[in-house]
């Protein structure tokens, strides 16, 4: 299975790994380890200007660093029933495979956790050559969730117990109670959290914005709880506004517990750009 997207995984915080400094990355990037100097190019951050070198040479030079490496990337992928609505799980698989490929390509350990109401599959982070195939196989044989619900908090609790530190990417539609994350992520509120989390909010187009129908009556059934509700499509605008508000609430709730997120509709053509932008934006916000 070939990765569909090419991601540049950038951490906001330096990895909390005892051996992080001993593992030099292959690429230049935005790490903490000094790599060298180069001439200033338009667009470079002024904070990177090496004033001493400027004084010596009379030209503007910027410092370059090694890309951070030796982080444990943990892909936390939701396989609950709601993820099987439309092509959400297909996108989630593509994202997972692409992220795993990006991490493993730069010799970083990568693990996989599939969850629904509980942890269903757990592959600990590893940089072994067969890890990519293990991850792809696990995704292709993702177990069907017997329970209807999605529970994220127990999953994160599981991760925190198993891994001392990691960079977790949660790929889910977040149809779960996010209030429980608050107490869980309090520990991550420190300046350099051990568990750095990013959320990729995967949504089907109909879930993002319902279009193409302007009248009629529709009965919706919750794929997880089985609850039914009738919908008057003559009030479609209100429905779409409700979806938007719900999306924004999810983003705010995640941000409140220190999890940055990006909304990824299945039909979007710029998935790669959106994810890379998320990583870049986080990096730019680095203190």
């Amino acid at each position: 299975m070939k990765p569909r997207y090419r991601f540049d995984i950038l951490l906001k915080h330096p990895p909390r790994n005892d051996m992080a400094g001993d593992w030099a990355g292959l690429d230049r990037g935005t790490g903490y380890e000094f790599w060298g100097l180069r001439k200033y190019l338009p667009g470079d951050s002024w904070s990177r200007i090496d004033w001493k070198a400027c004084a010596r040479s009379g030209e503007l030079h910027v410092r370059e660093f090694l890309r951070d490496s030796a982080y444990n990337l943990l892909l936390i992928c939701d396989v609950s029933r709601s993820m099987h609505f439309g092509n959400k799980f297909g996108l989630a698989k593509d994202l997972t495979v692409s992220l795993a490929h990006a991490a493993l390509r730069s010799n970083n350990p990568c693990g996989l956790l599939l969850f629904a109401d509980k942890v269903l599959t757990w592959i600990p982070p590893s940089a072994a050559p067969r890890q990519f195939h293990r991850i792809v196989n696990a995704l292709q044989q993702a177990p069907a969730a017997k329970n209807r619900q999605t529970c994220l908090a127990p999953t994160l609790e599981f991760v925190m117990k198993r891994l001392a530190s990691c960079f977790g990417v949660i790929i889910s539609d977040f149809h779960t109670d996010l209030g429980k994350l608050k107490s869980l992520m309090d520990a991550a509120d420190s300046r350099f959290p051990a568990h750095e989390m990013v959320a990729l909010h995967v949504l089907e187009d109909a879930e993002y914005q319902l279009t193409g129908i302007d009248s009629g009556l529709l009965t919706l059934q919750d794929m997880e709880s089985g609850q039914q509700t009738a919908l008057d499509l003559s009030r479609l605008d209100e429905f779409n506004a409700l979806l938007r508000r719900e999306r924004e609430r999810t983003v705010r709730t995640l941000a409140a517990v220190g999890i940055d997120s990006a909304v990824l509709p299945v039909g979007a053509t710029d998935i790669q750009a959106r994810v890379n932008t998320l990583f870049s934006r986080r990096l730019a916000a680095r203190v």
Binding site: F85, T219, L220, D222, E224
Partner: protein, 370 residues
Amino acid sequence: MPGFELQYPLALLLLLLAPLFLMLRRRTRRKLPFPSIIPEMANLRPGFWKRNYNGIFFSLVYTCLVLSLVNPGYSKETVEEFIESKWLFLALDLSGSMKRPVSMFSDQTLGDLALDGISSFIDMRRSDDYIGLVAFSSYAKLLAPLTFDKDLLKAKLDLVRSKNHSRIYRELGAGGGTNASEAVWLSLSAFFSMLPEENRLSVEQIAGMREFLLGEPGALLDIPQKIRNAALGTGMAVILFTDGRIEPTQRAHVHSGALPNLVNIITLMKAVGVRFYIISVGGEVDEAVERAMQPVTGEPAVGRIFVTSRGLDREQIEEVYREIDILETNRNLTRITLQPRWTRHILAFLGFGFMALHLLLRSLPQLRKL
């Protein structure tokens, strides 16, 4: 509602299945799986009518179709007021004795006087009374069947006036006997033949009945069920005018028994309720006939015998007929008819109407189910 009834009441049990069908419809209706239903979506639910019009129409259609199976019915009461129409038969004796002049100074015979009386009686009656004429001597002849055409009746009466010397008059006048029983039986036969189709007797049945009347008085009278069911007799009367002796049967036939016995006929008239009036000029009425005419205790009289002197005049005859006219006064009647009305067709039509309306509503963009 008067006379409400259900043709197949057990079919009402099918209504008990309606909740089951509604539940099945609810369970099997099309649903769009959606990842998450948030509580705020409850505010976007359609109104009661949009949400439930399917169930409402289903219930209406189902109820109408079940009720059309049950087929409720009621009786429509029609009250009709009308004046009774009398059926009267006038039997006139035209034997030789009726040819005698009323007085030595008059050229009018007793028969003519009787005809004048009958003519005035016909004028007295209402226009919708059925009147028939029978003339008799040794045998009886139907002059006119029951009709309300008074001109026809008078024309028939003119036929048997002495001055006209008609063939019927001559034939009847040749006979010397007074065969009253045959005349009364002929009148009754005419009544029987005028009954509605379901109560009308065939010629064989009438002939069979006549056989019973030939016997001695007191013989068991077998009245056909059709006649009993016809509620015959209300407003029917036979008026016999004769100057001869009224006997149960003619002397010549006592032994042969070929004529109906008048006592038996009076018993039959009592049984079926036909009234019988005898105008006897000279008052020669047999004791057995008089006894038969006497009312039995607790029962209405079958009729009356009017006895006049032999030297009667026109006034006397008209007086007798006036009296009979009063006795046979047309009553004001009220007919209450209950017509059964079944509602199956209405309910089935209503059910299919609701179904069509439902389909129409479902096809509207605002109400269609996706």
